[in-house]
């Protein structure tokens, strides 16, 4: 067993950390207050190649492995959560699904510009009335000749107003005996007639991120835009979540680290009763828990990343990593505020933003409650992962690096 990151991993980590420290951190507070996404974020992430980090070079990506994706997400969220969200939707939920399920033509047409950062991508599963109950969705796609006609609304969609492409799941067969089998997945260019998008404001956290809705009214798309077979939508959506949740787990790990680092720094600076507060045992206990949470969360997501590299099914491990890391990031941020006292309650310090941003991760991409049901299901033997028609390809450095 080798716990060592390789040289590439360490250099990727440092490069993204430098980008965050130099360009992102100085602007975070300003854009959080404005409740807008800083306009430079997406183009800069594209320019630096972050938006294609783990996609093979032949499809416009940078050819790094899945562990690198996790490390990038950890670094991004240690700086600012909305940047990690970009990777969750653009890469985890969309681009990796195209890599896994897409035809060669779909990879050339949609994945390549996404990996190059020329197009941004998002993912539409949740509806105003259907979140955890995926099969309860109302949006429909009706086959008419060589086209599908899409109708419905997707809600709480990250990058809804910024993305060029969305991967949406809609109902194609309302009569399916099992409603899960009546869903299909589609790639929708968001400049098509009948599509409207917008942002939601007034969120607790992720204020410098773009979260919105995609409304589709009689949107015509060609059959070639269907991802996978008709009726495969639920399986595709769940496989997307295996990848999206991985990025959320890695990001939440970064958020725990940020809470820990801020708490350690403040514990050395702040004095009470003529001692730095780090010398008080109850402050030490909070820091000890943060260390424990960070190390455990990191090992859990790196194991999931390693399994992806090996081509092993990792639904259980990714779910566990996501559940643990997001819950722990919320706890760590709350305790970081406590360490900071009244200053932590103000946005003069970063920790209150960490708490607000952490809560989203506990809800999206499977609430903690869903993950608890999953883990219990695996342990009790009620839940087993069936093989998929298309599995996420194992990382093969030679294939990933080759131009053609």
């Amino acid at each position: 067993m080798d716990f060592q990151l390789n040289e590439e991993h360490r250099m990727v980590q440092k490069m993204v950390r430098d980008f965050i420290d130099k360009e992102v951190k100085p602007t975070v507070r300003e854009w959080d207050r404005k409740q807008e996404m800083a306009p430079f974020i997406l183009p800069r992430m594209a320019e630096l190649g972050i938006l294609g980090i783990n996609i093979p070079v032949r499809y416009g990506g940078q050819g790094f492995d899945y562990i690198s994706l996790g490390l990038v997400c950890e670094e991004l969220e240690a700086g600012d959560s909305p940047l990690r969200v970009v990777m969750s939707v653009h890469m985890g939920l969309n681009s990796m699904a195209l890599l896994q399920w897409g035809t060669e033509e779909q990879k050339q047409k949609f994945l390549t510009p996404q990996a190059k950062g020329e197009k941004y991508a998002c993912f539409g599963l949740t509806e105003p009335g259907a979140g955890s109950d995926v099969a309860g969705m109302k949006g429909t796609a009706k086959r008419v000749g060589d086209e599908y006609v899409l109708n419905g609304e997707k809600m709480w969609i990250s990058l809804a107003s910024k993305a060029h492409h969305a991967l949406v799941v809609l109902r194609t067969n309302p009569d399916a005996a099992d409603p899960h089998d009546g869903l299909s997945a589609f790639i929708v260019e968001l400049d098509r007639k009948g599509v409207t998008t917008g942002d939601i404001h007034g969120k607790l956290g992720m204020r410098a991120g773009s979260t919105g809705f995609i409304a589709m009214q009689d949107v015509h798309i060609p059959v070639e835009n269907r991802l996978g077979e008709e009726g495969e939508g639920f399986k595709i959506a769940m496989s997307c979540l295996d990848n999206g949740r991985y990025t959320v787990a890695a990001g939440a790990t970064g958020l725990i680290r940020a809470s820990l680092d801020a708490s350690v720094k403040y514990s050395h600076e702040r004095k009470a009763f003529n001692r730095e507060i780090g010398q008080f045992q109850l402050v030490q206990q909070k820091i000890a828990y943060m260390v424990q949470q960070y190390e455990a969360a990191r090992l859990l997501y790196l194991r999931a990343g390693w399994m992806k590299n090996e081509g092993e099914r990792n639904t259980r491990e990714t779910s566990l990593a996501k559940w643990y890391a997001t819950d722990a990031s919320f706890d760590a941020a709350a305790e970081a505020i406590q360490v900071h006292g009244a200053y932590g309650y103000s946005d003069e310090y970063d920790v209150e933003r960490y708490l607000r941003n952490s809560k989203g991760g506990v809800i999206y991409e499977g609430t903690s409650e869903i993950h608890q049901l999953m883990q219990a299901g695996y342990a009790l033997g009620y839940r087993k992962d069936a093989d998929l028609r298309c599995e996420l390809p194992a990382y093969d450095a030679e294939y990933w690096h080759a131009e053609k």
Partner: protein, 259 residues
């Protein structure tokens, strides 16, 4: 244009430096490329991009200094060479300059040797000028901008950042230049560069390869001590208005003998 850029591996600037039993210790802080040398690599790459040519990176140090070279490769340098010899373990700036000059001669055909303005560990800033002296080349230090460079006519015009402002200096190539921050932010390593660097074979040259005897160091470190701790006290100066506060502050400064 053939450019040689020299980088050094140093403790991270955020490291807490301590002296324990006469030995400098920086705890578990990582070793990084000297921040000033990142500007040098950036300058070298920009000049190569603008005028055509290649950048060869060198570092004098132990095996671990390969990390600094890999950073330079990931930024875009075409090749990297470590200069490592047990006889150079305690090389001072003068000895290092002789080694750098020998490396430049061995590489051959170098038009420009580029350095950061100083290293953040030893902080002397002597290596660029001393290397120029050994080579007999012009020394253009503290360069903020290369205003003109004519590879054909072998001329260079630079703006030096000095206390009084900017000074424009012209010289002949080949030359040694040292770079300051004003040159522009160093680029991040690209992902493709990172992959190239991680796969790169870094050659190691010894004094034997350079064909020079071990240069003598004139400077030695007979004793290393931590500077005495400075006791700092804070005092808030208050008053009814700005004038009163300023007057009190002025009295304090004069009273303490600061001015």
């Amino acid at each position: 244009l053939k450019i040689a850029v020299f980088v050094k591996q140093v403790p991270d600037s955020a490291a807490k430096i301590a002296v324990e039993s006469g030995v400098v210790n920086w705890g578990d802080a990582p070793l990084v490329i000297n921040p000033w040398d990142e500007y040098a690599v950036e300058a070298a790459l920009q000049l190569a991009e603008k005028h055509g040519g290649e950048v060869a990176a060198f570092s004098l140090g132990p095996e671990s200094a390969k990390e600094a070279l890999k950073h330079a490769l990931a930024m875009g340098a075409a090749s990297a060479t470590l200069i490592n010899d047990p006889a150079l373990a305690a090389a001072d700036a003068g000895a290092s300059a002789r080694v750098f000059a020998a490396a430049i001669n061995k590489l051959g055909g170098v038009d420009l040797a580029v350095f950061g303005k100083q290293a953040i560990d030893s902080d002397t800033g002597l290596a660029p000028a001393m290397t120029a002296r050994v080579l007999g080349w012009p020394s253009l230090t503290l360069v903020a901008n290369v205003a003109a460079l004519d590879a054909g006519a072998k001329t260079i015009k630079v703006e030096r950042g000095i206390e009084e402002g900017r000074q424009i200096v012209e010289g002949k190539l080949p030359a040694v230049i040292s770079i300051i921050k004003d040159f522009g932010e160093p680029r991040y390593p690209s992902f493709m560069g990172i992959r190239k660097a991680s796969k790169a074979e870094i050659a190691t040259w010894t004094l034997g390869d350079l064909g020079i005897p071990a240069p003598e160091s004139k400077v030695s470190w007979p004793e290393i001590i931590a500077p005495p701790k400075r006791e700092v006290t804070n005092e808030m100066i208050t008053g009814a208005n700005a004038d009163e506060i300023a007057a009190k502050l002025a009295d304090k400064i004069i009273g303490e003998g600061v001015l």
